[in-house]
């Protein structure tokens, strides 16, 4: 099985995608249980981060070269992600401070899993177009149980934006920073 995964990129990408979706859907269902929100996020985040084991950091878009540009890109992505809510601030929920740490953990874990590992696996299997579209579709599907259908277009558009950044800049640091800031606010 492991040999088949290592020699067949498409199969590996499919297994990684299925695993990530299973983790995210399980987390979404578990979060509906009173008192289980934080444990579900922590365990789910750890389960997502497991996917990065064995992947070289540069292949995931991680690195410290041109770090100021990466950080600046993260701030720019955060500004875009938060702009609609900022304009309508009176209607936007602010997450309690006690949830800040779990917000950071799940944001980092999701970026590593979707735009890091899954993107890299799909890129190997079918190139950048498949990586962009596939990671966006998986990202949207992962939110299907936690968000009403009307929100999924916005979720998909956010996933597409982050995936395009990952492709165009070969960078995951900015999507991580942007996602963390966005999740800390909402």
């Amino acid at each position: 099985m492991i040999a088949a995964l290592s020699t067949r990129p498409a199969l590996r990408a499919a297994v990684i995608g299925a695993y990530i979706l299973l983790v995210e859907w399980t987390r979404a269902v578990a979060s509906t249980i009173p008192g289980a929100v934080v444990p579900a996020i922590l365990i789910g985040g750890a389960a997502l981060l497991v996917t990065a084991v064995g992947w070289p950091a540069p292949q995931l878009g991680l690195g410290t070269s041109r770090l100021p540009l990466r950080i600046l890109g993260g701030f720019a992505l955060a500004a875009v992600l938060l702009l609609p809510a900022a304009v309508r601030a009176s209607e936007a929920p602010i997450i309690p401070a006690s949830f800040a740490m779990v917000a950071v953990i799940i944001s980092v874990a999701q970026e590593v899993a979707f735009r890091g590992v899954l993107y890299a696996a799909l890129d190997e299997a079918g190139g950048a177009p498949l990586a962009i579209v596939g990671s966006t579709v998986a990202w949207t599907a992962a939110h299907a149980l936690s968000h009403p259908p009307a929100f999924l277009w916005a979720v998909a558009a956010a996933g597409l934006l982050l995936a395009l950044w990952r492709w165009a800049c070969r960078d995951l640091v900015a999507p991580i920073i942007g996602h963390v800031i966005a999740d800390l606010a909402l």
Partner: protein
């Protein structure tokens, strides 16, 4: 098409998509639906346009013992759970429970209400049990509250919409939901004492536009020197060797 243009187009598509589901993209932990106020507080602005919902439940009674069940409003903002045998239902075949948002909105000089007031009625009284450590004995209420108003500290119960309001406690083991056990039905609301200092100030919602403004200004201000440095570096270093050494980060055309 140039890659920066693709990113800009995706950003535009996101802004349109997020704008259509006000107040925007949620990937955090807040509820994805705005709270349906009967009387929106000033901080909430105009109402969502959706009326607060009522709820109705018929609980079966077998051999005088009512089943366990949960009554909830259609919008999920208020629910009441009942343990088996929660009602004094001898001789009945079922018990009917209704939850109704109260309008006009009651007020109290001693309390700040953080939710709608809901009237919960049943055609049988709850059993009277002494306080125990058993959860939800014989019934418990769970009230969703809005994230834009200060979080409630307690659930209050009254026999009349005009009070007096009795504090029946409150625990929060789910985000934006406060729970309390009760052995009486009546009018329920979540809130906090009028003289309390709440840690979740509504002013926090004003931080978001400020934070986004700071991000935008920061990106613009920091981007100028970085762009200049980038342009100078591009003039000094052969671009091909630069790509081989460090093929990351900068969007390429």
């Amino acid at each position: 098409m140039k890659r920066p243009l693709l990113i800009a187009a995706a950003a535009g598509a996101y802004l349109v998509a997020a704008w259509m589901v006000a107040p925007g993209f949620y990937d955090g932990f807040g509820p994805t639906q705005p709270y349906n106020w009967v009387c929106p507080p000033p901080i909430a602005g105009a109402n969502s346009g959706v009326s607060a919902s009522s709820g109705h439940l018929v609980i079966n009674v077998i051999d005088g013992t009512s089943d366990a069940n949960t009554a909830f409003t259609a919008d999920g903002q208020m629910s009441v759970s009942f343990l088996p045998g929660a009602f004094q239902a001898a001789g009945k075949t079922h018990v009917t429970v209704d939850i109704t948002p109260v309008s006009p909105c009651p007020n109290s000089p001693d309390l700040h209400f953080a939710t709608n007031v809901y009237q919960v009625t049943a055609d049988a009284p709850l059993i009277q049990v002494p306080p125990t450590t058993t959860q939800c004995q014989p019934a418990c209420v769970a009230m969703l509250y809005s994230a834009i108003s200060p979080a409630p500290s307690f659930v209050y119960l009254a026999a009349s919409p005009n009070g007096p309001w009795k504090n029946i406690g409150g625990t929060e083991n789910q985000l934006l939901v406060i729970r309390a056990d009760t052995n009486q039905l009546g009018y329920f609301v979540a809130g906090y004492p009028a003289n309390a200092v709440n840690k979740n100030s509504p002013a926090s919602s004003q931080l978001l536009p400020i934070a986004v403004a700071v991000l935008i200004v920061g990106v613009l201000i920091a981007g100028i020197p970085l762009a200049i440095l980038r342009r100078r570096a591009a003039g000094n270093v052969d671009e091909e060797s630069d790509e081989e050494d460090d093929p990351e980060v900068t969007p390429r055309t």
